[in-house]
């Protein structure tokens, strides 16, 4: 491993510790890491957008491959229309001309709605409704290859989905009091919703632990490089870790002292 790569790994571990320090309490190290992440992401996004959007889709076409004189005799002058509409978006920063920005916004929303409505209705509403109301697969009621509760296309799963969906819809029907048989179905609906939220919560916990596991894996990988005496980076790694720790602890101590002094002066 090259030394520069090792330094980047070290920086990654440092930023990880900074972020995790928030679990104790808010502190400047956490803020530093947070701002670095936001700044790097924003900067990266702007460059990606420039090189993958504006340059190939607009400037290159307007310039016909000739950056200096191409603009003057471009064969794609129609691209000036979206360019102008895009520039008009910036009028939002002016109180007097902000109304102009409604034109490109209207065009953008109009095109998006036109594209989205038929496809969304067809694929996320109609097909889902059709799947819910499809004829129950009695032939494979308990699973396609024998009894299998995990088979989401078995007749049993279809039945559970249909009953569950109807019960959950009944729960949100407030025009009739939830009493008697109707109330019982609504109660079943709450249970279905709770099971759904529970599944989402379980997956979310797994996701959060996965993030921490990934940082653990990288930290241990870094540790194997930094503290492995057989590694060429051992001494450099030791120095980086030693001074890094001292700086981290000293920085945090200074922060705590300054915060306490400020608190005391404000109370006296």
């Amino acid at each position: 491993m090259e030394f520069t790569e090792f330094l980047w790994m070290t920086f990654g571990v440092f930023v990880t510790l900074c972020i995790l320090s928030f679990l104790y309490k808010d502190n400047p190290f956490y803020k530093l890491a947070e701002h670095v992440v936001v700044g790097v992401s924003a900067g990266y996004f702007v460059i990606i957008l420039w090189h993958n959007g504006l340059v190939p889709k607009l400037f290159s076409r307007l310039a016909d491959g000739d950056w200096y004189y191409g603009f003057l005799n471009s064969s794609h002058v129609e691209y000036l229309i979206p360019a102008i509409l895009g520039c008009i978006m910036w009028t939002r920063f002016s109180k007097d001309y902000a109304w102009l920005s409604r034109w490109p916004m209207a065009m953008y929303i109009g095109i998006s709605a036109g594209l989205a409505i038929p496809l969304e209705m067809s694929n996320r509403v109609n097909k889902q409704l059709h799947a819910m109301m499809a004829e129950i697969d009695w032939a494979n009621f308990v699973g396609h290859d024998g009894f299998n509760l995990l088979d989401v296309t078995s007749g049993l799963s279809q039945t559970i989905v249909m009953i569950g969906a109807l019960a959950a819809i009944v729960y949100f029907f407030f025009s009739k009091e939830h009493k008697g048989a109707f109330g019982a179905i609504a109660t079943l609906g709450i249970w279905v919703l709770m099971i759904g939220f529970g599944a989402s919560f379980g997956f979310t916990v797994m996701a959060r632990i996965s993030l921490f596991t990934n940082r653990l894996q990288d930290t241990f990988r870094w540790g194997n490089v930094a503290f492995n005496t057989g590694n060429a980076n051992y001494h450099a790694g030791f120095i980086v870790v030693f001074w890094g720790l001292i700086l981290f602890v000293a920085g945090y101590a200074v922060y705590e002292i300054v915060t306490n002094l400020k608190r005391r002066s404000s109370t006296t």
Binding site: G53, L115, L150, V152, T204, M206, T213
Partner: protein
């Protein structure tokens, strides 16, 4: 103060500390966790396994570094599985930070493919993976819905060149490849709402087989599409990735992380039970004392 009330007022930092200790211990400890493979992951693996040499799979790397932990292992396991079976791949990234993710995976996987390996008892000789012959990386374009629709007409509409600036017509594996029609399936590995667009604007509009690799947070939300047949497989979170690694006999970071998952979940369940017991017991005591 009663024990249960103390439980209710336990400083959250103790929970974090215990969780960190358990995670670190289970990561260091030397044991393996058995992986139960679910049908929705098996169907993706079987689909790729059944493809003949030279077929093309499109893989959308639609995630950013914040989802790397869960989704990178899926990409690694699946792409290596494709390449070992000599299935060609077209990559695209419709998430703004996706190209970096894809580029990193490509570099690591081309290195890994150079080595001789044995998976599920089959020996695979190491071979050089060549850009343009084994894979093509289209890159990123903004406005994913428009890009997905554009690719359905012709890949060259949104991507006249690949990520590295080579015109698509000069790339050997893209000769005769016009749109999704020439791809055996599309697999979207995503950490955001781009998946919705792949379902509505991609699969719904053009009818290609679609499989999903999702973050844990998203997974439960997309199971209805599996039941309706709109997607033929789902890999959910790190567990889905671990299942794919298990099927491909290619253990990686996901299987490695399952040990931590097991014990972390046990700690979280323990605290949930403790919190509930504390809540109900203190409520009962307050009722008995006539304070509630």
């Amino acid at each position: 103060m009663q024990t249960f009330e103390k439980l209710m007022k336990l400083d959250r930092r103790w929970v974090y500390l215990l969780l960190i200790i358990v995670c670190v211990w289970s990561y260091i400890a030397d044991f393996t966790v058995p992986i139960l493979v679910e049908p929705e992951v098996r169907s993706i693996h079987s689909f790729i396994d059944s493809l003949p040499e030279g077929d093309i799979v499109m893989i959308a790397i639609d995630y950013d570094p914040n989802n790397l932990a869960e989704l990178h292992p899926m990409t690694y396991a699946m792409v290596e599985h494709c390449w070992r079976n000599k299935v060609k791949t077209i990559f695209t990234s419709l998430s703004q930070n996706g190209p970096g993710m894809c580029d990193q995976a490509l570099r690591d996987l081309t290195d890994s493919m150079a080595l001789d390996r044995e998976y599920n008892g089959v020996e695979y000789k190491g071979r050089e993976i060549v850009n343009g012959i084994d894979y093509c990386f289209l890159g990123y374009k903004p406005y994913f819905a428009i890009v997905i629709l554009g690719m359905g007409q012709d890949f060259r509409l949104p991507f006249p060149t690949d990520y590295y600036g080579t015109p698509l017509d000069s790339i050997p594996m893209m000769k005769g490849v016009i749109n999704y029609g020439q791809c055996a399936c599309v697999i979207d590995i995503s950490g955001g709402n781009i998946t919705d667009a792949w379902i509505s604007y991609g699969q719904g509009r053009f009818g290609f087989p679609l499989a999903l690799g999702l973050t844990g947070v998203m997974t439960a939300q997309y199971y209805p599409y599996l039941g309706s047949g709109q997607v033929f497989g789902i890999m959910g979170g790190l567990l889905g990735a671990a299942q794919y690694e298990e099927l491909a006999d290619n253990p990686g970071r996901a299987k490695d992380g399952m040990r931590v998952q097991l014990f972390a979940h046990m700690v979280i369940i323990l605290f949930i039970v403790m919190g509930n017991v504390g809540y109900f017991a203190s409520r009962r005591r307050l009722k008995q004392e006539g304070r509630a």
